[in-house]
């Protein structure tokens, strides 16, 4: 019977090469995964912008913006903001046509943030022009 003599050195080199190949492939797969998904920050801003645009449209169509100006009272705006999901913060400011601040409201227990989305909407009350500005951002602990 003829026995094949195993070269121990060769086995070590082969295993070493396979291990290196495994590491390299894992690295490529990891990089590829990272590249195929865009970073979340781009989309999160779109979500916030949609939320603020929709929010202002709802507030205008439901007459809350006009009521707030007529009564010079921010309670309805405050109620609307407090109804946002827990992780979303927001504020609303109402201006007249010469950009004078008339009313504002901030969601309770929210600190201001620089990472916000801003929307604006014109509304009319008794034929006078007003502007509502809504800022929305993610809650930061």
């Amino acid at each position: 019977m003829h026995l094949i003599k195993i070269n121990k050195k060769a086995v070590v080199f082969t295993m070493d090469a396979m291990f290196a190949l495994f590491i390299t492939l894992s690295f490529f797969i990891f990089i590829n995964d990272s590249l195929s998904e865009p970073s979340g920050s781009i989309y999160s801003n779109i979500d916030l912008l949609q939320l603020s645009n929709d929010g202002l449209a709802v507030l205008e169509k439901s007459g809350i913006l006009e009521n707030s100006i007529k009564n010079l009272n921010n309670s309805e705006l405050q109620i609307y903001l407090n109804g946002f999901p827990e992780q979303i913060c927001g504020n609303i400011t109402l201006y007249n046509s010469i950009n004078l601040k008339l009313l504002s409201a901030v969601k309770s227990s929210c600190a201001e943030s620089d990472m916000n989305a801003i929307s604006r909407r014109i509304f009319i009350s008794k034929s006078d022009i007003y502007l509502a500005v809504m800022e929305v951002w993610y809650f930061e602990t």
Binding site: L35, I42, N53, R121, I122
Partner: protein, 261 residues
């Protein structure tokens, strides 16, 4: 290095495409924001619906004839949009609209001007079947309602319902010629005098100041809240829509469509 470069390029391309999409959606939002205030809030005119059966009926359920300068409201609004609002939104905006709109494809022009409101119909007037108006006055009546003589034939039927501030009502309906002279107080108008202060409401259809095919509501020293106004036309081959001027955002100009069938 290669991966870093590829990542940055990909991220930039993605950001660019998102920015472009956002910009286009933002232009749409701004256009909607500007237009949504024109019809109801500034002109106080509210369209109820446009219905199509054997005929097409354009139906409004609110308009206020009061001592208001609608042209001034509109010019103030335009000035605000083209200055303050344009700066805030960082977009080039210009708009061209006023206190009128057009019912298409019938080419009927609607105009609201303080105490008065008019429809200017385009010939041939044979496509107008009827006009039906109900309104509530802000003052008391003085006497009773007068109405023009019936012209008969295939003329449009004009129906007028008036209610004074105390709830007194009168209803009149006549077939009226769109080319009959309707100069004031020649007995060719629906008319009711009002009290405190002395005034009147006058509704006429026909030739007004030399122009045929005009339906107009005139008030003096009283206010009128139009609660229902239906204009019924022959069927049109194309969809009916209400248009009013145009708007241009970042050099992209579009017609203002206030409503469509």
């Amino acid at each position: 290095m290669l991966f870093t470069k590829s990542y940055i390029t990909r991220e930039n391309e993605l950001r660019n495409s998102i920015t472009l999409a956002q910009e286009s959606s933002r232009e749409g939002l701004i256009e909607e924001d500007i237009i949504s205030n024109v019809f109801k809030e500034l002109l106080t005119v509210q369209l109820n619906n446009i219905s199509r059966k054997n005929t097409v009926t354009v139906s409004f359920n609110h308009a206020e004839l009061a001592d208001r300068d609608y042209s001034k409201f509109m010019s103030n609004y335009l000035s605000y949009i083209e200055n303050a609002y344009m700066q805030l939104t960082n977009m080039r905006i210009s708009a061209d609209f006023n206190n009128t709109f057009k019912i298409q494809p019938y080419k009927t022009i609607f105009e609201i001007k303080g105490n008065n409101m008019s429809f200017y119909f385009s010939p041939p007037f044979t496509n107008i079947n009827s006009i039906d108006i109900s309104l509530k006055l802000g003052t008391l009546r003085d006497g009773t309602c007068a109405q023009p003589a019936d012209d008969g034939g295939n003329n449009p039927i004009i129906t007028v319902n008036i209610e004074d501030v105390a709830g007194w009502t009168c209803a009149n309906s006549q077939l009226l010629s769109p080319i009959e002279d309707n100069n004031r107080l020649n007995g060719q108008q629906f008319y009711l005098a009002t009290l405190d202060p002395p005034g009147y409401i006058e509704i006429k259809f026909g030739q007004v100041e030399g122009t045929n095919g005009i339906f107009t509501v005139l008030t003096s020293n009283t206010t009128a809240n139009i609660t229902q106004l239906n204009v019924d036309y022959d069927l049109s081959a194309t969809k009916v829509f209400l248009e009013s001027g145009s708007i241009s955002i970042n050099n992209k100009t579009s017609r203002i469509i206030l409503a469509q069938e």
